[in-house]
């Protein structure tokens, strides 16, 4: 994968994460105790030996920029290549932020021209997986494909949860014959992961053509229009994949991390998921702490009971607190005698003494950043 560059698109206009994405792009939504969503695809690229990655930001990108910094933690703080962050409207004439993904790519044409790699992997940022892209690239080359779309098989529950998806119909050889955007009754359970592999030169031509003929989006416009004229193939990824674009999918995917197999696949030692370092102290368990089936990041102080939950860095759980089936983001505090069940607390939330918050597994209670209850 040495000769490949990566592009991560962070446009997330259709997301339904509500307060979680009120002040940040979906790519920057905290996930899994110490990560942000973008860490997974970004680390996958880095672990696949891609050392030239452009992150195209859309709106609300301050939090994302702050997280990525110079790319040090992903080993992308390089002299040659490394991490490039593109704020929206990098060109003077592009002022219309409602423009599609293709317009965003068109805006960074200079970056494509300057980069020396032969191939490009383009990915959207809401995918949780830890994948080696080498197999997909091998598939792409062996099929002599113009474009390869990565997909995974999604079950009925997955279809229900996703707010938008593209289902792919594929012939015996693996070539895509039709693509349906948000179908009511999907013909295929193969759902695009919104990750594409192509040659850089071809991409430049396609983007140019698309912009001059007024196309907006990669899948619905560019790929669908070219199904007949280009060799567009589908590569099925068999590993763990989750997509996060609703509160429900955020909650369920987070809870899936407590499954040992999922946890080991995502966080296996050889291909770590990198993230920004916080220098927190180890987590302190008090005398009367009782924790079970939970993921706990560093810097927490736990005196109460925690069950089936995920605590991010620096969370404080006081005495006599019961937390169950909940996700508590960085630096939030739950004071004495409170009870939380099926709750998501965003960062810096304070739940004062003796409060009771109860949601349902399908509809967790979500408290926005900095809330005081």
């Amino acid at each position: 994968m040495k000769d490949t560059m990566g592009i991560i698109l962070t446009k997330d206009t259709n997301n339904k994460l509500y307060e979680l994405s009120a002040q940040r792009a979906v790519a920057a939504v905290p996930f899994g105790g110490r990560y942000r969503i973008i860490d997974f695809i970004l680390s996958s690229m880095v672990n696949s030996d891609i050392s030239n990655v452009g992150v195209v930001t859309h709106e609300n990108y301050q939090s994302l920029m702050d997280h990525l910094g110079a790319g040090k933690e992903w080993d992308l703080d390089r002299k040659l290549c490394g991490l490039f962050i593109f704020p929206p409207n990098v060109r003077k004439e592009s002022v219309d932020r409602s423009k599609g993904t293709l317009e965003e790519l068109y805006n960074i044409m200079h970056y494509f021209r300057r980069s020396k790699e032969k191939y490009v992997v383009i990915s959207e940022s809401g995918v949780i997986c830890n994948m080696q892209l080498d197999d997909a690239m091998e598939f792409h080359l062996s099929k002599e494909a113009d474009v390869t779309v990565l997909y995974n098989a999604v079950d009925a529950r997955g279809f229900k949860e996703l707010s938008s998806l593209t289902s792919l119909s594929v012939d015996r050889n693996g070539q895509i014959v039709s693509m349906e955007i948000n179908p009511r009754f999907p013909k295929s359970n193969k759902v695009s992961m919104n990750i594409y592999i192509t040659k850089k030169a071809l991409l430049e031509t396609l983007i140019d053509e698309s912009i001059s003929s007024g196309l907006d989006e990669i899948e619905s416009d560019l790929l669908r229009k070219n199904l007949g004229s280009l060799r567009i193939f589908a590569y099925g990824y068999r590993g763990y994949v989750a997509r996060i674009d609703t509160v429900r999918s955020y909650f369920r995917t987070s809870m899936e991390l407590l499954n040992r197999n999922v946890m080991h696949e995502l966080f296996s030692g050889e291909n770590p998921i990198y993230t920004k370092v916080k220098d927190e102290v180890p987590t302190m368990y008090g005398d009367r702490a009782s924790v079970s089936n939970s993921l706990i990041a560093d810097g927490c102080v736990i005196e109460g009971n925690v069950q089936n939950s995920i605590l991010f860095r620096g969370v404080q759980i006081s005495k006599n607190v019961n937390v169950a089936n909940s996700i508590i983001l960085q630096n939030s505090e739950v004071h004495e005698n409170s009870v939380l069940e099926n709750v998501i607390l965003d960062k810096d939330v304070i739940v004062r003494v003796g409060k009771r918050l109860t949601g349902q597994a399908d509809y967790p209670v979500l408290i926005g950043k900095g809330g005081v209850i």
Partner: protein, 578 residues
Amino acid sequence: MILAGGQGSRLGSLTKAIAKPVVPFGGKYKIIDFALSNCINSGIDTVGVLTQYQPHELSRYIGSGQPWDMDRYNGGIYILPPYMKGKSGEWYKGTANAIYQNIAFVESFDPEDVLILSGDHIYIMDYRPMIEAHEAKRADATIAVITVPWEEASRFGIMAVDEDELVTSFAEKPKKPASNLASMGVYVFNWKMLKKYLILDEQSEKSSNDFGKNIIPMMLKDGLRLYAHSFHSYWKDVGTIESLWQANMDLLQKPLPLDMYIDSRRIYCRNPVKPPHFVSSSARISNCLVTEGCEIYGEVEKSVVFTGVTIGKGSRISNSVIFPNAKIGEGCVIDRAIVGDNAVIGDGCEISASARAGLDEAAPGAAAPGAAAATATAGAAAATAAAVAVAPAGVAAATVTAGTAAAAGAATVAVAPKGAAPAPAPKAAAQAAGVAAGSPAAQAAGSSAAGSPAAPEAGGPPPRLIGFDSLSGADIYDTTFLSDYCEDGISLIAPDVAIGCGVRIGGGCMVDRSIVAPGGALGAVATGAAARTAPPPLPPPPASAPVMAGAGAGAGAGAGASAKAAPAAGRRLKEVAP
């Protein structure tokens, strides 16, 4: 300037391959993180780290200094090993000589004052008030001091001061301390003055080139203005296994003696890339520090668990310090121990004082079932059960030397493999012991195994059997337990050691070699680690180790006793086996 070249020999196998400053501490840190973080939190961003003993791990750990925010254009962090000058070069002879050899380095920054630190102390300190006081008093040198208990004062550099904190006398490790103000090994020197004295000290051939022993007394004698600067918070020199263990335990006290939770005094470290730690539904954790990357399935109490540790289901860990990436199997019991990095402990092992007590009871004749016949036959010799060597086919190199420093008699245990001819067993034991023990001890082994009943009568406590592989019977083949480092009952499992299933190890032992049968099982934690930790060749035992290989069993232990005790041991094994 941080002095980080010391070996820390009293930390035993922990510092066999690494320098003391990179010994893990406090869940995710290394000892040197405290000095480095104190520097950056005090606004000092030009730091020299003087290395000498086993510098690779230290150099790699420090790298560009980025984790401590010390990768700077101007200043930053510099690793300073001894180097060649002209046609010659020499090792750092002492703390003062290390600075002497780097005078040119310090000069290049043209400093007014130089702060000299030790890279192996645990404390959180803002050096700025000390430097300000040093400047305000126009001192030639300022020494940070801490009040220590009187009974410990003779272990430190002790000084007497007047009401203005001007040092009036200084004595390095005095027999009769004049005060209980101890030097913390933190000095601020006026650089011009220090340079002068470093050069003077170098000219004296008798000098040991040490700050505490030479430079400070010489300055004091010459009437220089040396001031003390009192420090009133936590400070610990983690020079021994016991103090390293204790300092880790101190982090679990309330209120915290060492408060790492204050933002402006944060301790920085090179962060491992690990996910949050996982606590399973079978786990119970109380009064612990646990770090990212751990997976806890057992019960952990009053312990510090470092990055990437796995603790299996049903295991009970208490009062222990588990270093990074150690893997502990299922159903283990570990109490008052330090488990080294990447150590692998198989299912059903026990490391605790009670394991030792239990073994002491069963000691006469506590051979594995397969060996019972061998010991019974060999019973004519006085060296019976307590001197049992495990000799797997083809390998006659099994020694288990045992006993605390108090228990002068060590036990060498030789167990013949199942089906082996019983008669040669004592001889095998003697040979095995001889291989391990080297010179005079080998003769001792030979003579006692040959049947001298003198050992028990010679006085001293009876020798103790402290470990055997109860699951696989006669499969121990390469073990040495040394106890001279751990007189206080803290056990140490050395880094990278693998221990097979069901091994029981008494309190206060140091296990520095793997105890794994060839191809032996490690149980649920079986990983590649076992393969990686091929047993190294047997080193000669340290002089202080009470090697009396082949010493007889406890008084009265004879053939009959051992034959009787064997079934009892067998029952015990069944209980232990997971």
